[in-house]
Symmetry: C2
Subunit: 385 residues, 2 copies
Amino acid sequence: MTNGCRHFRSDPPRIGILGGGQLGRMTALAAIRMGVSVRTLSPESSAPVEGLGESMTGDWTRTEVLESFAGGCDVITVESEWAPADLAARIVGPDIPVLPRPRTLEQIRHKGVQKDLLLQAGIPQAPYRRCESIEEAQQAAAELGYPVVLKKYQGSYDGYGNALANSESEIRSLWPLLSGPDGILVEGWIDFKREIATLVARRPGGEGVIYPLVDTIQRDHRCHAVLAPGSSDSEITSRARDLAVRCAEAVDSVGILGVELFETRDGSVLVNELAPRPHNTGHYTIEACHTSQFENHVRAILDWPLGNPDLIVDAAVMVNILGRSDSKVSLESIPDALQEHSGSIHIYGKTDSRPGRKMGHVTVTASDTESARRYAESIVSRILI
Amino acid sequence: MTNGCRHFRSDPPRIGILGGGQLGRMTALAAIRMGVSVRTLSPESSAPVEGLGESMTGDWTRTEVLESFAGGCDVITVESEWAPADLAARIVGPDIPVLPRPRTLEQIRHKGVQKDLLLQAGIPQAPYRRCESIEEAQQAAAELGYPVVLKKYQGSYDGYGNALANSESEIRSLWPLLSGPDGILVEGWIDFKREIATLVARRPGGEGVIYPLVDTIQRDHRCHAVLAPGSSDSEITSRARDLAVRCAEAVDSVGILGVELFETRDGSVLVNELAPRPHNTGHYTIEACHTSQFENHVRAILDWPLGNPDLIVDAAVMVNILGRSDSKVSLESIPDALQEHSGSIHIYGKTDSRPGRKMGHVTVTASDTESARRYAESIVSRILI
């Protein structure tokens, strides 16, 4: 046993990942590269992790399924805040840590709880109200000023579950779509200058590293592109990174914490949302940083020393490959896309495509973000998957 | 069908890899990242590729084993020149290409045939004689001048199968260890300034790209470290790269061809040896180049456009992790090794370690090769696997 790290029952250690999508896939690939064993569990057959380590399929709300999954794992992690981490933790007890901790996931999963927690920690964010009725929401909007953003508390992702409301009647019509049993989150609209993001990797004892600040470009409420390094000035960059570290401390995160922020036109920095796991805004780190977000997630949950998060290139741009139609996945367009310029193409191994579904991504490294983006967009525009 | 590329029966295409060691493993990882399906076949249970795609074990000299392996593959490649590519090609016929072509493997596998071929192509190399008896070898040594290098024609790797002889009596005592049915290769000793290497990636139609020239550092006749970029001047670098391309043309390679060369003290460049596959001297390309040797090997055998082989960093150094004793593999020393500095650690997933066995490697990128090497050596020195 060295440098205070945990001692594992298996050697090489085995990590269990609850989830079988692209985040589980890329986490598994990072672990396998280091010789770490991987087991995944997903509720349904999950092509992205099939053929990577040991992939199990089963109803992960059932005790016996989780027990058989956890047996022989040294640590369990999640691909998303919706995985049954609390149930897993209750079943496997303190023997096998579940990291990030279920409490962290709980605090982040519910947007109202997340905002309250960040408020208590004194972290600047968009003004908001938790509203239990349409009338409360309309009242909140009057106070915050239109337009407001209505957010579903739980289960929203990639723009599903958020909507802009410009009037009382719009709030009324959106209410049934977005409200849960405890209502809805109403947020003041931020006239931001740019959307920015970073990642914090953190070990169980709190030692952490922070990734470069990046610009994120959204289209149709979905992450379209990530530009590294971001274009904020050094003062904004340093404030944003400080805030991200404070967020990681506030939720006591372990592994990667994705932090999305706004730089506003009047020069303030607000935290927008947290994600307690490797994040789409960090995929560029695979090619562009000394240590990728996936590798540092694995290192963190194993309580291994973290790797250097700094860029090894001047600039990198990641562009998502989204499905365009309901169809079986085809790689037929890849050779044509590769012809134009060199980029690192990641295809997630999903068997079915559908409009807007994240099917893969491309990262291009270059001497500046403009040319990297031009090349990346050009490659992605030719991929029909 | 786009840009003249082959059309595949499966979509995504499936590549079959004959071999289950670290080269197959890293090739599989590159393919999987791009969404390409992978099947491997090894003669015995092969931990490095287990849990990566579909790994088959069986006697690959048997027709029915090769048939069942090849069924559903779109192209078959090899991890080493010793894999039964010719048998596979005879069985699967022209339907499923075997790439690199069996003829290329045949020409490279036998060191005498390889040297004759390069000689015919006018490629400079160390002077040599193919000798069928001890007396012929002693005669050759007298002509070439002592010391001479005795080389086994087939089956040598990592320094096994080569030896320096300083006298007639040493030739006599080495003969039984190194000679085959058709004798032995006797080579003049080259008083080289440095050992250098590069990689050529080539598509079936001959379009190719060439990787940077690197310095290779041998210890005990094994590759210890690779420094990219190499330290040869630009004229030597350009001559070495030209020679490598001519070698690729001479053997009509498809996929990666590793080319090891000497820069001599009198400023000439000689080709030392070819390897018709991803090569240990190219592992640094995973982190340090736009497109790794493994990705370009996959692209080449699929007849996809090749990626940019250039460095994306100023410098990178790879150091091999060799086994130190006969033991079960343990990752217990990894956290301590990671503590010192960030490097990208690759552990090949072998279950047993033995002295000198290639167990993994570390790549460090930095602004110059000296500091990259210092960090990489320091990490590797702490790994006891």
